[in-house]
Amino acid sequence: MGLSDRDQDLIAALAEGLPTSPRPFDEIGRRVGLSEAEVIARLERLRDAGIISRFGVIVRHHELGYRANAMAVWDVPDALVDSLGKAMRCEPDVTLCYRRVRRPPVWPYNLFCMIHGRDRRAVSLTVRELSRRYGLDDYPHEVLFSRRRFKQRGAAYGRDRLQDRRSEPGTEGARP
């Protein structure tokens, strides 16, 4: 599915979030020259096409008591990485799961999992359990806990599209 300019305008207008007012889609529509009904129809279409993977409340883990997060990475053979990734994505404790390019020698890892937990111990346990269950113990791996969060917000695509841009959302302070 191709994205029209109007779709991209709409996605850009939503980057800072849906207004919390009684007719938020109408408000978004006014910013990009679409009617409320058109905004809703386009969003439904983008959601059905999988370009919007979800539309809804986006929470922040740290503020809700999930104080620890780690990026667990493994260097697994190319022939196995897809089947492992597809199996691990079903794990409830794995928030995100990707294959990325390696950059040897500085970065030899190709399988990435993001894991959130209430504390460091919980996250470590989850990683150990995953590693055991999927037979990953023998592959090189590392667990990169986050120490400080310098910035966390949604992507702001199409920044140049919006004439009525408000200021960039503030960056958020320390702590993972």
Binding site: L3, Q8, L14, A15, E16, G17, T20, S21, P22, R23, P24, F25, E36, I40, L43, G50, I51, I52, S53, R54, F55, G56, V57, I58, R60, H61, H62, E63, L64, M71, G85, V94, L96, C97, Y98, R99, R100, V101, R103, V106, W107, H116, E142, L144, S146, R147, R148, R149, F150, K151, Q152, R153, G154, A155, A156, Y157, R159, G173, R175, P176
Partner: protein
């Protein structure tokens, strides 16, 4: 850390929790969506709006909005830098200042600064990464995604 109410844990009641939990994926695309939420939760639309504004002020809600599948719109990329400890805050501030950067974390590793660049296209992404390298004088390791195994389906909260 400059955000009131984040420590200790937030005080949340059942209605707050349902607002956080129940609408991560199935937010109604309807003209008056908060009225739909109110009906499902058995409260008034005003109550929903008031609570969502509070949860946002507290930082528990980042926003209500769309999660875009990576690389369907624009071009995003994870990147890492090995930053000397004494320069970490300075370099983090340089990286943060790019509107294209949406996540930026210190991690426990020799590569200690990790960030995501979400640009409108591959050229812009390249330009931002090159610019960060030039301005910091540090090597930027870019790690483009080859496959996304798990769609972002929200985050199941447990309130134990």
């Amino acid at each position: 850390m400059g955000r009131a109410g984040t420590e200790p844990d937030l005080e949340l009641d059942d209605l707050d929790r349902r607002l956080l939990d129940d609408f991560q994926r199935d937010f109604p695309l309807a003209p008056a969506p908060y009225a739909v939420l109110a009906e499902r939760l058995g409260c008034t639309e005003e109550e929903v709006l008031r609570r969502l504004a509070r949860l946002r002020d507290l930082g528990a809600v980042s926003r209500i909005g769309a999660v875009i599948r990576p690389n369907t719109v624009g071009a995003s990329c994870l990147a890492a830098i090995e930053v000397p400890a004494e320069r970490l805050e300075e370099v983090a501030a340089i990286v943060n200042a790019y509107p294209q950067v949406n996540h930026n974390y210190e991690r426990e590793h020799r590569l200690n600064l990790w960030f995501v660049v979400a640009a409108d296209d591959a050229n812009e992404r390249r330009r931002v990464l090159d610019d960060i390298a030039a301005r910091t004088g540090l090597e930027v390791i870019d790690l483009p995604m080859e496959c996304d195994y798990r769609l972002d389906l929200g985050f199941p909260l447990s309130w134990g």
